[in-house]
């Protein structure tokens, strides 16, 4: 048991160390790398906490996808050092902030260490609720049934985020393809990877989404892999992202929430109310929602990672616009 304790201590120190290093890093670039390192270490901590579902999500979204989008913004910011040092709080203010942070952390620590023992748990209720749905993974059951409204709203948040990011585009770029332009690489390692990895990655992404019914995994984790595999050929310049006015892209992004909402509304007619499933038909309905959501999460995450449109329209579509 002491080996496990030492392991926890090591991980805790490593996470805190990289987090502190992230704040202290001299360049923004180094700070992002520190942040990603913290995230990857955290996903190991989640495994240690017995939350494999969360470990998958943290590794995919918390570390990987967030790190990539921050780094692409860092690549385009050129901060003036004079402006930054003028805006940096004074030494006294920073000391005050440190005091505040330590106080908040201390109070939290006191609260966490004095939680009631034995801890209250919904594990039994969740397990009892997941069996009639035909789902072997209680986390998926909670996401799809008991807290279904959360998941529905979350998928709507993703759609709104895409809308908001697109609306940040400069006026004359509206209708272009999302993301910066990358030079086409006909040969070389990147073009090889962009050709070899997506076929394998798409299979793995669908597998992770599919297995989520009975084992750790699910639409968000699988969808992130699919998004990454979609973006890889864009980065290598081998494929062009679709235009943001393309109705197929928009349908893909909206398909998940729409399906979820329709099934939820149908619950009024065939089951006990909004977002409830008829018991004999629960599993197929959940699978339908999961499939549509995987597609939507993949499309929305790909658009969020790529950012607002920065590419000009291809010549042929410009001509089509003028006509």
């Amino acid at each position: 048991m002491t080996a496990g304790l030492l392991f926890d201590l090591m991980m805790a120190l490593a996470v805190l160390g990289t987090a502190a290093w992230t704040l202290a890093a001299r360049t923004q670039f180094a700070a992002v790398i520190g942040f990603v390192a913290t995230g990857l270490l955290l996903s190991l901590v989640w495994v240690r906490l017995g939350a494999v579902d969360v470990a998958l999500t943290e590794a995919a979204i918390g570390a990987g996808a967030t790190g990539v989008i921050i780094l692409y913004v860092v690549a385009r910011l050129r901060g003036g050092t004079a402006e930054i040092s003028a805006a940096t709080p004074s030494r006294a203010q920073r000391a005050l902030a440190a005091l505040l942070a330590v106080a908040v952390g201390g109070v939290l620590a006191l609260a966490v260490l004095n939680l009631p023992d034995p801890a209250p748990s919904l594990a039994e209720a969740a397990l009892a609720g997941s069996a009639p749905l035909g789902l072997g993974n209680p986390v998926s059951a909670v996401l799809m049934a008991h807290r279904g409204l959360d998941t529905l709203l979350e998928s709507v948040v993703l759609v709104f985020a895409v809308l908001a990011v697109w609306s940040m585009a400069a006026d004359h770029r509206w209708g272009g393809a999302p993301g910066p332009v990358f030079r086409r690489e006909e040969s070389g390692p990147l073009s090889l990877l962009a050709r070899v990895l997506p076929p394998v990655g798409i299979v793995v992404g669908i597998y992770i989404a599919w297995v989520g019914a009975d084992a750790p995994g699910g639409k968000f984790q699988g969808g992130t892999i699919l998004a990454a595999m979609w973006i890889l050929p864009w980065i290598a310049g081998l494929a062009r992202p679709p235009s943001i006015t393309d109705w197929r892209l928009r349908l893909m992004i909206a398909a998940g929430p729409l399906t979820f909402l329709c099934v939820g509304l149908a619950g009024f007619a065939v089951a006990d109310g909004f977002l409830s499933y008829p018991p004999s038909f629960a599993k197929p309905l959940i699978l339908l929602i999961e499939a549509a959501m995987t597609l939507s999460v993949a499309a929305a995450l790909a658009c969020l990672i790529a950012g607002p449109p920065e590419r000009r329209l291809p010549p042929e579509s410009m001509a089509a616009d003028r006509r």
Binding site: V15, D53, I70, V74, R76, G80, V112, A123
Partner: protein, 114 residues
Amino acid sequence: MSGTDILALAACGLVAIGLYGVVAQAEVLRKIIAFNLLGAGVFLLFGVVARRGAAAGLAADPVPQAMVITGLVVAFAATALALVLTLRLHQITGAATVAEDPPSGAAPDPASEP
């Protein structure tokens, strides 16, 4: 002290580090990174609570886990929006902070080139 307690303290430490970063750093981008660290600490607290609620043969209580998964995705969406706003602010005004005094001689908007 159990391993879960150690990780609980690490979560509190992450919250403190993130909070300090959000308050004490000037650059918007670093504030966003620090805010994500703060969020990671809060999520980890949920994980500790889930672990303490292990019952019925499960390694951890599934309800807090599901809430953290929802939270991670929403945090990503919010981060993406914050980053795009930061970038657009920088493109229009040339600023990397949200100080009261905007820098004189704002950079031209690179996105408005023909």
